[in-house]
């Protein structure tokens, strides 16, 4: 992975059909190493479904996902995770009866068989997301903002190359969102690649190198942030008319 602009993730003509509903149809784009790609679109546009297809939860009905040069077809989420791609959940899924640190330990164990070592990694990651003071609390009892941070710490602990973040700022107040934005930028500093779903346009504009817009399952537009906000199609479908 010497060339920075060789694609780390290449999505080719991915379609996903649920019965009669095309949640994704013929979506293609690619990501280069180290970039942050913003994925936006109205509710139900198929963003989460695309995450599910990329990470192996659903087999795509059609199309290929190529990660670090490997085709992921037929791989299960755990295999994808071992390859270095991991996602967070839009509806956060803490392991409720485990402590905060144990949640992160579970993530870390994918790279090591030793529990003490995993605890070390976990502790580091909790520091990164500023949750270290809650390490011994039960994860089920955290307020929403901290649950989202925990979600991020847990995936970071798997030492991924590519992170898929599904609305990690959703439901956070501006201050909390700001924390997460800083966190995402910091992660980028470390050279990790990220794909971010977010409804908060302000945040998306700040962090994204590139934006892909989905609408009714199809790719509506792709481009640099400033191109996107001024794209009339995107404005009518997503941003709202008054914006122009």
């Amino acid at each position: 992975m010497s060339e920075t602009d060789s694609p780390i993730l290449d999505i080719q003509h991915v379609s996903k059909q649920f019965g009669g509903l095309a949640a994704n149809s013929d979506v293609s784009f690619s990501m280069t190493e180290g970039m942050i790609l913003g994925l936006i679109g109205p509710n139900g546009a198929g963003k989460t479904t695309l995450f599910n297809c990329i990470t192996g939860y659903y087999p795509p009905t059609k199309g290929d996902v190529i990660f670090k040069g490997k085709r992921l077809n037929g791989m299960t989420p755990d295999q994808v995770c071992k390859l270095g791609m991991v996602r967070t959940w839009q509806k956060v899924r803490p392991l409720a009866k485990l402590s905060v640190i144990d949640n992160v330990v579970v993530g870390a164990l994918v790279r090591t068989g030793s529990v003490p070592e995993a605890r070390e990694i976990a502790r580091e990651q909790l520091h990164v997301v500023k949750l270290a003071h809650k390490a011994d609390f039960l994860a089920g009892g955290l307020p929403i903002g901290e649950r989202k941070k925990l979600e991020v710490a847990r995936v970071l602990a798997t030492k991924p190359d590519l992170l898929l973040l599904d609305e990690v700022m959703g439901g956070l107040n501006p201050a909390e969102s700001e924390d997460i934005i800083q966190l995402i930028l910091e992660i980028k500093q470390r050279g990790l690649t990220q794909m971010v779903i977010e409804h908060d346009m302000k945040a998306i504009m700040r962090i994204s190198d590139r934006i892909v817009v989905l609408n009714s399952g199809e790719k509506l537009a792709e481009g640099a942030p400033l191109e996107i906000v001024s794209n009339p199609e995107v404005v009518t479908a997503y941003l709202g008319e008054a914006h122009t």
Partner: protein, 234 residues
């Protein structure tokens, strides 16, 4: 008509509403705005008694809703069209509508109400025999609203009716909401689609992480700097 005062609510130990107060007057359209997870749906669930608040009061036309069960709230004329539509998937369109007039008091009007739903949403008339679960998102939304109307509501709580709908249909939905309001139903609307909803509403409240931070008329809020920043993007 509806008054929510000093409402606190927690899911288990996770508090999501803090001292929320808002009110709706007869004949109004009132919108509640707020980011994901701000507690908008939770507020509506409290009104419908799907969940119980830890503190505060909810009154409707002088009735204390906190003393009632969900189905009794519906009997008073307060109906909710919930987030995610919640159509009965294994029932046909017609059966779904009939479920809307389950209450004894609304059964005499059943036929008339079904016709009203079909006039508002001609699409539903075409698909009477189709199972709810196989409808497209937009159709499900129509069905959910139609089903809500079957109860002869005096106050209708609409939770994100435009969610997942095509932009064209979104505009349509707001026209329909206005129409329903004109026919005499008061409306409490929860929306992410800030422009459209503010445009049709008389008044609006903004929720942020479980607290009411702003309120005013639709016009006022449309012009408000904070609203612009928080919801309309740069």
């Amino acid at each position: 008509m509806l008054r929510i005062a000093n409402l606190d609510f927690s899911y288990g130990d996770l508090q999501v509403l803090w001292d929320v107060s808002l009110d709706v007057k007869q004949g109004e359209i009132v919108t509640v705005l707020g980011a994901n997870g701000a507690g908008k749906s939770t507020t509506l669930k409290n009104v419908s008694r799907l969940v119980r608040p830890s503190k505060g009061s909810i009154t409707f036309d002088g009735h204390d809703l906190c003393a009632l069960e969900s189905h009794q709230v519906v009997e008073l004329g307060v109906v909710q069209v919930p987030e995610g539509r919640r159509i009965f998937p294994e029932m046909t369109v017609l059966e779904n509508l009939r479920m809307g007039s389950f209450l004894k008091s609304t059964r005499p009007d059943r036929q008339r109400n079904i016709e009203r739903a079909f006039t508002l949403f001609p699409r539903l008339a075409e698909r009477q025999k189709q199972l709810g679960g196989t409808l497209s998102g937009g159709e499900q939304q129509m069905l959910a609203i139609g089903r809500g109307l079957m109860t002869n509501p005096r106050l209708m709580l609409l939770d994100e009716p435009s969610l997942g709908l095509s932009p064209l249909f979104v505009r349509n939905i707001f026209e329909i909401i206005k129409e329903i309001n004109k026919q005499g139903t008061t409306i409490l609307l929860v929306e992410q689609n800030v422009f459209q909803s503010l445009r049709i509403s008389h008044r609006a409240f903004v929720l942020e992480t479980g607290r009411v931070v702003l309120s005013g008329t639709g016009e006022e809020l449309l012009g408000n700097e904070h609203v612009k920043k928080a919801f309309l993007g740069a």
